[in-house]
């Protein structure tokens, strides 16, 4: 059994996984397929069950219900050391009593490989730290330890590499650099990466596929562009970037479009981007998709009139406006500073317009604020 598990390869499949601690359900009936060779991200706020899911894949937690399989092999009941899966732990968990070389060689030696020099040196080269082989972990900086933790996992050529918030302890600049590097390393070694993070920008930068998790379940799964442009729930719309959600009613159809009434103003919305279930709907538009214009300017597409500029923040690359609409809602508008038009000033009456294809529709009974709360554990160096 264990030998079969050790050599298992293929897609990772979680089927109806549930994990409960007493009354608390951390992961709730989660099913998921992670294709072999992909860079997959589990994204969600703290406490959403993403780390628990990762630990179940690693074998460090046992699912209460459900099965985990790798290719055709069911690995649900195997021990962590029997799985061809390695983890880069959140705080690296390097062995403090061993040299960097022995840290990296640890997994190879446990599998009875005698000649480890070549593999270890190659792994050290991959993370560009060959000169640190004889040091102890405490003599390394955080960024270096992070790379060694990666090398220690990758050297084993696992079927699956799990990364548990691996960049969480690094400063912003180093984190951006490591994101690009991790992506490069993943392409280089071709191992399936499963990356757990609460940082949506990190997930979008690195992963081919993102699963957004909330309260133990997957809210939506897809490519970063899919999730951003066509979110299916308010949680996803708010957690990935920012969204303007305007309450409205579906009043009719026009070919492939729905006609939506937003407080008396009609706009159109593509049917395949509408995830509402009845006539009550939230029309969602990303702030950068809006155009802001003076009343006399000719505009096209969806138009909302009667706005008034409430606040202007000039941030160089763009200007961010808060526009108060007649129904009392403030909309966020991000304008690129690329048209030579002077910024609007506070109190100016404006219209807002956008291309209808950028509208997405969410169920009208959703909590429009879902996913907007800031995580208490979010690093302070996050902007």
């Amino acid at each position: 059994m264990s030998d079969i598990a050790k050599s298992a390869r293929g897609d990772l499949k979680l089927s109806n996984i549930t994990k409960s601690y007493g009354d608390f359900t951390a992961v709730n009936d989660l099913s998921l397929v992670i294709p072999e060779g992909s860079f997959f991200a589990l994204l969600g706020p703290s406490g959403c069950g993403k780390t628990t899911t990762l630990r179940m894949i690693a074998g460090l937690e046992e699912p209460t219900k459900g099965t985990i399989s790798l290719g055709a092999t069911d690995i649900t009941d195997t021990k962590p050391y029997q799985r061809p899966i390695n983890t880069v732990f959140q705080n690296y968990a390097l062995f403090p009593h061993l040299t960097i070389f022995e840290n990296i060689a640890f997994g190879l030696r446990r599998r009875g490989i005698k000649d480890v020099d070549d593999a270890v040196n190659k792994a050290l080269d991959l993370v560009e730290l060959p000169h640190l082989a004889q040091r102890k972990p405490t003599q390394l900086s955080g960024g270096q330890q992070q790379r060694i933790a990666l090398a220690r996992a990758i050297v084993n050529r696992p079927a699956l590499l799990l990364l548990d918030e691996p960049l969480g302890a690094l400063d912003l600049k180093l984190r951006r650099q490591m994101q690009i590097e991790l992506k490069w390393i993943q392409r280089e070694v071709g191992i399936t990466f499963v990356h757990v993070t609460h940082d949506q920008e990190e997930a979008m930068t690195m992963a081919d596929t993102i699963a957004v998790m909330n309260e133990g379940q997957i809210e939506q799964m897809g490519s970063p562009a899919d999730l951003y442009d066509n979110p299916e729930t308010a949680f996803v719309a708010n957690f990935l970037g920012q969204s303007n959600l305007i309450k409205g009613t579906v009043t009719g159809n026009d070919g492939a479009n729905q006609i939506v009434d937003l407080f008396g103003q009609k706009i159109s919305l593509q049917k395949d981007r509408s995830h509402g279930v009845d006539s009550s709907i939230y029309a969602g538009i990303r702030p950068e998709k809006f155009r802001i214009s003076r009343l006399e300017t000719q505009t096209h597409g969806n138009i909302l009139t009667g706005g008034k500029v409430e606040d202007v923040s000039y941030i160089g690359v763009s200007t961010q406006y808060q526009v108060l609409m007649p129904w009392g809602q403030e909309l966020m508008v991000f304008e690129q500073n690329d048209d030579g038009v002077a910024p609007f000033s506070v109190g100016e009456p404006v219209n807002i317009s956008w291309e209808p294809i950028f509208t997405f529709g969410l169920r009208g009974d959703e909590d429009a604020e879902a996913g907007t709360e800031v995580n208490p554990d979010e690093d302070l160096d996050e902007e």
């Binding site: 021990k79 962590p80 050391y81 009593h97 446990r110 084993n156």
Partner: protein
Amino acid sequence: MKKISTPYLLLIPGMGFLFTFFLLPLINLAQTSTQTPVGGGDTGQYEQTLRFANYIDAFVENKEQFGRSFLYATIATILALAIAYPLAYAIAFKGGKYKNIMLVLVVAPFFTSFLLRTIAWKQILGEEGFVVPTLRTFGIISESTTLTSSAFAVVAGMTYNFLPFMTLPLYASIDRIDPRTLEASGDLYANGFTTFRKVTLPLSMPGVVAGTLLTFIPAAGDYVNAAILGSPQTKMLGNVIESRYFKIVDYPTAAVLSFTLMAAILILVTVYVRKAGTEELV
């Protein structure tokens, strides 16, 4: 000027104490060790003759007790380690919110006098205790075997008395181990036993070394356990020193034995610490 002298000033009380109560008596002891009785004098009257043969005489005369001291101390240390390691491990990793209560329980025996606890072992291992009848019922010991006044009782007493000294340093160093390193070991293909051998044990080595030293050193010089729980056949060096000093009033031999015991322990400990390689650990 002032900044440099302050630390040295702070050292004065400690140094003064050590000088008065450790170094001076030690010098005195060294002097006594080479003395011989005054010809025609009273018992307890000795003069300095620099007779270094005292050392050889005393060793030859007491080599049995020497061997016994180190044998008993070694066995007691190994037993204490075997009992204390799982205990310390359990408190550190599984104690949870009861950690502090469990630690208090480990040191709880200290609230009773050392002597009283040792005497209590006489009861436990005596004919009226529950140990002997139980062992007899299961046929583990014969009807005629007794446990008091035996090597077994002495070693048991020492193991018990020094157990907290083993447990506390072990706990301190096991508690410092990041449980994630153990998870990482499992993740890197090591099963439970290998993880213990390759990660837990090496990381707890400072505790093992400290604990074994804190147990072995006092155990090797101990005489209370042998005096209360032993018989003339289980005499340790401490008992000999005690009787030479207080009963026979043979100060030179008592001094010689004290010195030799100290030297022997010092050598053993040095070799042990070198072998255990604690300097490898941060």
